[in-house]
Amino acid sequence: MTLQPFENFSDVEDLAVGLTDDDPAVRRVTVMELADTAAPEAIAHIGNALKDGSAEVRLQAAIALGEFDGAETAAALTIGLQDSDLRVAQAAADSLAEMKDPQAAVPILPLTQHESALVRAGALRGLKELRNPDALASGLKALSDPEPEVRVQAIGVVAYLKPDEALPALIGRCRDTSPEVRRTAVGALAFSASPHVADALIGALRDEDWAVRETAAEVLGRSGFRQAVDPLMVKLDDAFWQVRLKAVRSLGQLKAAKAVHAIAPALNHQIGNLRKEAAAALGEIADGAALVYLEKLVDDADPDVRKNVRWALSRIAG
């Protein structure tokens, strides 16, 4: 009987012999086979393949290590992250971002000081998910990195740890020169109810970039900052309907009864999404003053608008 019904992997040491083959394609296939074993003993061999003369083999090794975890894997990947071939470095960064074991942070930390911005960004991206408190200092330092992409990743490292003492530094990034950094920093402030945060978010409502304004409008409602009602009402006239939509939604979340008359014009906007959001917000506020506006929309052409109007009317009635 020759039938072998189960997946069967050769011994890791036997497989690893393939890494010494003259043909890089064979070495590459070997790396894939080693990864399939999922055996911890394979990590060291795949790590060696990250020093292979062929960039293709190194690339395969960088991808393969994403299947493993822990400090040994991360240490091997730090070599890949510094590879002169950008594809290898990128793959190593992607694999580092797959790590889960907080101990993986230990070998990554020194790379946050690396001369290459790509390496620094890749290291910080890996650290973010690990939520290791030891990474906070590196994250804070990198908030003033010259490269915007590094600063974006640094904000993630810091905000995932949610330390109150980092708030001034994060608030500082809301005035960054890069719009993407500002947007990320504004989003990162969602973990705190501090009045300083509210001030920063209200300031960000006047940002020149619409995506920053949109995020600020959203976070203000989510975090329940009552002091944001007036500034959010100003945003009901924003040039971008996406910003107006978030402002409407947040005013609903804040149950801002004084905003009813200001929200009402959004019920007539040609974009159905905004009409729907306005109706939903008026329902959340549940103030009788909205009745006169909502009743006009009972037969709106858009079923989603009609549905939200019905819901809002029932909230006000009950």
């Binding site: 043909d23 394609a25 064979v26 590459r28 296939v29 894939m32 293709e56 395969q60």
Partner: protein
């Protein structure tokens, strides 16, 4: 009733210059949910043997050398 051989164009194309099936790689053949890829005895390279493709793309995504391309089957493209 006797059987005929009717031609059909298949959606998966393998670049034989890039394919390393002859070096022991079987990734695309392994991952295909419909099991329609094979390695040719003649060339040692992968090819699509059966026209039963869900155009789902693991063969292309997992190919280590970028040798596989999944096209949309003619009848629906």
């Amino acid at each position: 009733m006797p059987l005929a051989n009717t031609a059909t164009s298949v959606p998966v194309v393998v670049d034989e210059g890039k394919c390393i099936a002859d070096k022991g790689c079987t990734v695309c053949v392994d991952v295909c949910p419909l099991d329609v890829l094979r390695i040719s005895d003649l060339t040692g390279k992968a090819y699509m043997k059966y026209d039963e493709c869900w155009y789902c793309m693991p063969c292309e995504a997992d190919c280590p050398t970028g040798a596989v391309t999944v096209n949309i089957p003619y009848l629906l493209k």
